[in-house]
Every structure is written in structure tokens, then in C-alpha cells.
């Protein structure tokens, strides 16, 4: 029975190896310190035990040199500990640029996972061994935490923003996934598994669970929600073209510049007046309440995938979404071949 009692977690990622190495170093150093103090205390308590009620002791008040020594010297050891720990942490904070991105949404009390090709999972995350994978996470309600002990990483998942983490699995198997930020009644049941598979197995799994990529689903939403009405490919449209936007630097109307990342795109859909692009009016209605976090992820995947010349053409006639101007200022946009006549007021060329 005791053979089955684990005393140390499995090492299943590159980060795990690094964290364990630091941990063992820390155990060794602090262990030596603790044992030394314990032995000294024991030794002194025995060697200098009171032998008579009127024992006299020497009047030792201290030694400044020794005291400065034991004040300053630990700092050198601490420096090593700090640098080592910081190096692991900074590398975890910087996902490899080409790692595939999996989206995770935490909600009371489950994990919803979306792969880039559309596969969806609840509480389980299937990933291939030997390749880094990046996670982009958000919460639908309260703060959760995505924790995989075997990978030695965790990250708090906060509502209202995206956070990122990544890992590079080195072993196949099924590993615990825990929520480790208290989130209510079933916090302890918000658990699952990370399943690391061999490449071939993983490819098979992907195929059998595909639902159409996230980007494709996002394209459908883009049309359904009538984003296309303003964000068409037409340069006289009343909103910027979104091709090739992801990752670029954008100049805003108030003089700031931002990078068009996931957070920026999500914010622009929910709070469009927050960051208005230079040269454009703030006429975009908000889609808060009309899209949930999962739909947002699909839209983002679509925008990310949008290459030049690939903006869909508006073909269906749906009523404009809630809050959109009925008729755009300056009239409806002409089809691309027509000669432009009126230029609506306040517009300038898309930069």
C-alpha cells in the first residue's frame, strides 16, 4: 500500500525539470541551514546546561563583525535563489512565438477548452508530446486558476482579460488539472486532466473531434453579426479594414499607439469607444451582451486569420445589429467598382 503513496509529482514538462532543480537546490541550502541551527541549539543546550543554581556566565554582548557577517552573507545566497527563480518565471511568461494557441475559458465550475481547429473539450485538454503549446485563458465569472502540477505551472484566470501561459510536455500520460483559486461551492470539483499524446495519436484525436476551425466559425459570426456592414474591404467603408491587422501597431485617435493583440480586439468589440483608430469616428456599436466569451474567441481567430484580399463579401441581408446606425453617415457604401463620389465628413484615408 505504501508503495503507491506518491511523495513527489511526475515531471512532465521542460519547466518541471527546471523548477525541480531549483527546488532541490533550495531544499539543500535551507536544509543545511535548518539542521545547523537545530544541531547548534541541541549542542549548546546540552553542553551548557545549568549545573548549579548560582552558575555564572561570561558577559558576552556581541561581536559587531560577526553580526554584520551573518546579516550580509545570506544576501549572496539569496541573490542566487532570486536570479534562478526569476529566470524560470520570465521564460514561462514568454510563450514561444510559433506555439499553437489553445483557448481556455474557466467558469464556475468547469473548464471549456477550444482548439484552433475547432475541437472543443470540457475539463480535458489533449495536447501532443514534445511540442510547446500556448494557452490563452479568460474567465466568465470569478477568478479561477489553471494548475497542472506535473507541468509545475499555474496561472490565475481573471474575468475581463486574457492571460497567457505555455508548456512543453515531455511525457505522455494523463495528468491532473486543478482549479487552484477558490471560486465557490464546487471549487474542489473543478478538476480535469491534461492528456498528452504521441503525435500520431494526437492527429487522430484532432481529426475525430474536428468541428470546423475556430476561424471558420468566426467567419460565420462575422457575417451573422453584420460586422461586414462597416468592416468591408471597401476603403470608403465607415470602418477600418481588418485584413492583416493582428499583431500590427495601430495609431489611435488620442495619440497613443497599441499593438492589435487579443486583448485589443476583444476590447474593441465590447467597448468600441475605448480605443478609436486615428482618422475614424467612434460610431461602432458595442456587442456586449450579444457575444459570449466563446464567440469572442471565434471572432478573434477569424480576424487573426484574415489575410489581405480575404474579407468576405456581404451577400445576405440581415437586419443591422443593435445600436448600429441605420444609415451610415454619408450614405450607403458603393460596390468596389463604382467611382467614389461623396466622401463622408471627417474621414481620412485608412493609414
Amino acid at each position: 500500500m505504501f508503495a503507491e503513496v506518491p511523495l513527489f509529482p511526475e515531471q512532465a514538462s521542460t519547466t518541471a525539470e527546471r523548477v525541480d532543480a531549483l527546488f532541490f537546490f533550495l531544499c539543500a541550502v535551507t536544509g543545511i541551514m535548518a539542521v545547523s541551527i537545530a544541531l547548534l541549539l541541541l549542542y549548546f543546550a546540552v553542553k551548557y546546561r545549568r549545573r548549579a543554581e548560582d552558575d555564572r556566565t561570561p558577559r558576552i554582548l556581541g561581536n559587531k563583525r560577526l553580526e554584520w557577517f551573518w546579516t550580509i552573507s545570506p544576501m549572496f545566497v539569496f541573490l542566487i535563489m532570486f536570479l534562478w527563480g526569476a529566470s524560470i518565471y520570465t521564460s514561462v511568461a514568454q510563450p514561444p512565438p510559433d506555439a499553437p494557441e489553445v483557448f481556455v475559458i474557466g467558469k464556475q465550475w468547469m473548464w471549456k477548452i477550444q482548439h484552433p481547429d475547432g475541437q472543443r473539450e470540457i475539463n480535458d485538454l489533449h495536447i501532443p508530446v514534445g511540442r510547446p503549446v500556448k494557452l490563452t485563458l479568460t474567465s466568465e465569472d470569478v477568478i479561477h486558476d489553471f494548475f497542472v502540477p506535473a507541468f509545475r505551472t499555474k496561472i490565475d484566470v481573471v474575468p475581463g482579460r486574457y492571460v497567457h501561459t505555455w508548456f512543453h510536455p515531455t511525457k505522455t500520460g494523463r495528468f491532473h488539472l486543478f482549479c487552484s483559486q477558490y471560486c465557490g461551492t464546487s471549487h474542489a470539483n473543478m478538476v480535469g486532466s491534461v492528456v498528452v499524446m504521441e503525435r500520431a495519436e494526437y492527429a487522430e484525436w484532432l481529426d475525430s473531434h474536428a468541428e470546423g476551425s475556430l476561424a471558420l466559425q468566426g467567419r460565420k459570426l462575422f457575417l451573422k453579426l453584420q460586422c461586414i456592414t462597416c468592416h468591408s474591404a471597401n476603403s470608403q467603408a465607415r470602418a477600418p479594414v481588418l485584413e492583416d491587422l493582428y499583431g500590427r501597431t495601430v495609431n489611435l485617435r488620442d495619440g497613443r499607439t497599441v499593438v492589435a493583440d487579443n486583448g485589443y480586439l476583444r476590447e474593441s468589440i465590447l467597448y468600441p469607444e475605448a480605443k478609436v483608430v486615428q482618422g475614424w469616428e467612434s460610431i461602432m456599436p458595442t456587442f456586449k451582451g450579444q457575444v459570449n466569451e466563446e464567440e469572442l474567441i471565434r471572432l478573434l481567430a477569424f480576424i487573426k486569420s484574415l489575410k489581405p484580399g480575404r474579407t468576405p463579401v456581404r451577400t445576405e441581408d440581415f437586419p443591422p445589429p443593435l445600436g448600429a446606425p441605420e444609415t451610415p453617415p454619408g450614405g450607403n457604401p458603393k460596390p468596389p467598382q463604382a467611382v467614389p463620389t461623396n466622401r463622408p465628413e471627417g474621414k481620412s484615408n485608412r493609414s
Binding site: D254, Y271, E273, A274, S282
Partner: protein
């Protein structure tokens, strides 16, 4: 005057000087904690102010600067009358003491009354998130303001001025107590620490207001035509 008989010096002090220094230090230390409490909430406000400057300015422009300004003058004057009453105690001018203390109370009450009027006027102006608020009126501004962030600013406004008002109320209570003590002849040139330390407290509450006014009211642009009761 019967109760003026018992000793000013408390049993655990060696001499009057030690007692007075102790009491003064105690009040200053207490005011340090008050700086921390107002400082914490000012910090929270400042963080959001820096994050959403336009929306906070838009919200601030709708606050009632007229009442805010009048209240500032009222409160500053009450600090003057408070200082005068401390002085009157030290020099033994009982009548001046009573007059100045009473004036301080009246001015304090005026502040609180005007504050209540101001809250009512904010209610009328749809500036009470959760109770009476029109998001549309903010998005229609040029440039449009985010009604969510405006609500954030207004929440801070009510909390900060509310905390200040609570401190004023406590101060009023202390002042009334002082008036009663004065009537019993217990505020004299030798027995003055009570009014001295309460004076410190009152001045502190005034200073907090001096910070509140610009932080809350003056970040936005007010026009003469906006001023109203």
C-alpha cells in the same frame, strides 16, 4: 463650576507637561492613521483616473462645483473659528470661546446641510449609478464617454465624500461635547488639551476636503452656465 475641582493631572502621569505631550502625540498618531485610510482610497481613485482620463473628466464636469466651492469656503471658515476657539481657551476668554465654538458648529452643520442638498441635486441630475442614471446621456456627449467608467468615478465620489461626511459628523459630536464642557467651565487656560486635540482633528478633516475638491470636482471643465443648486 463644581466639577473644576478634580485634578487635571491623571494618576498615571508624572507631571502636566508629560500628560500634554502624550495627548498631543496620540492625536497626531491617530491623524497618521487617517492619512492612511484616505490615502488608500485616493490611491484607488487615482489608478482609475489615470486609466480612464476622458471618462473621469466627463463625470467630474457634471458634479456640482457651485455647492462644492461654497462648502470649501464654509469649511475653511470653520477651521478659522476652531483655531480661534482654541486660542480663546488658552487666553481665558470664555465668551469668545463660546461664540467661536458655536460658530464652528453652525458652519459644520452648514457644510453637512449643503452636502445633503448637493446629493439631492446629484440625484436630480441622474448622477446616482444603480439608482438614477442614464447611460445614454454619456454616450451622446462629444467626445462620448463610457458610462461604465463614469459610474466608476461616481462610485468613488460618493464613497470619498461620504467617508469625509462621516468624519465631519463625528467632529460635530465632539464639538457639541466641547460646548458642554465649556459651559461647565472645564475649558480653561490650564485645562485645554481636549479642545486642542479636537482642533487638530477638525483641521485634518478640513485638509482632507482641500484634497477632495480638486481631485473630484476640478478634473473636468465646468462652464458658468452649468452652475446651479
Amino acid at each position: 463650576m463644581a466639577s473644576a475641582n478634580y485634578s487635571i493631572l491623571a494618576h498615571h502621569f508624572e507631571n502636566l507637561e508629560q500628560q500634554r505631550e502624550t495627548e498631543t502625540m496620540g492625536m497626531w498618531l491617530f491623524l497618521a492613521t487617517e492619512i492612511l485610510i484616505f490615502g488608500a482610497i485616493f490611491t484607488g481613485y487615482t489608478i482609475y483616473r489615470v486609466r480612464y482620463p476622458r471618462d473621469f473628466e466627463a463625470a467630474s464636469a457634471h458634479l456640482n462645483l457651485l455647492i462644492g466651492s461654497i462648502n470649501t469656503i464654509v469649511l475653511l471658515s470653520s477651521s478659522l473659528t476652531m483655531a480661534l476657539s482654541v486660542h480663546a481657551t488658552r487666553v481665558g476668554r470664555q465668551k469668545m470661546l463660546m461664540t467661536c465654538l458655536t460658530l464652528t458648529i453652525v458652519l459644520g452643520a452648514t457644510f453637512l446641510g449643503l452636502k445633503a442638498l448637493e446629493y439631492y441635486s446629484d440625484y436630480e441630475d441622474f448622477l446616482v449609478p444603480g439608482l438614477r442614471f442614464r447611460p445614454g446621456e454619456w454616450t451622446e456627449l462629444t467626445p462620448p464617454a463610457n458610462p461604465q467608467h463614469v459610474q466608476l468615478m461616481l462610485a468613488f465620489y460618493y464613497i470619498m465624500t461620504g467617508m469625509h461626511a462621516v468624519h465631519m459628523l463625528v467632529g460635530m459630536g465632539l464639538l457639541v461635547w466641547l460646548v458642554l464642557r465649556a459651559r461647565q467651565g472645564m475649558l480653561t487656560p490650564v485645562r485645554y488639551m481636549a479642545i486642542e486635540v479636537i482642533g487638530l482633528y477638525w483641521h485634518f478633516v478640513d485638509i482632507v476636503w482641500i484634497f477632495l475638491l480638486p481631485l473630484l470636482y476640478l478634473t473636468g471643465t465646468h462652464h458658468g452656465s452649468d452652475l446651479h443648486f
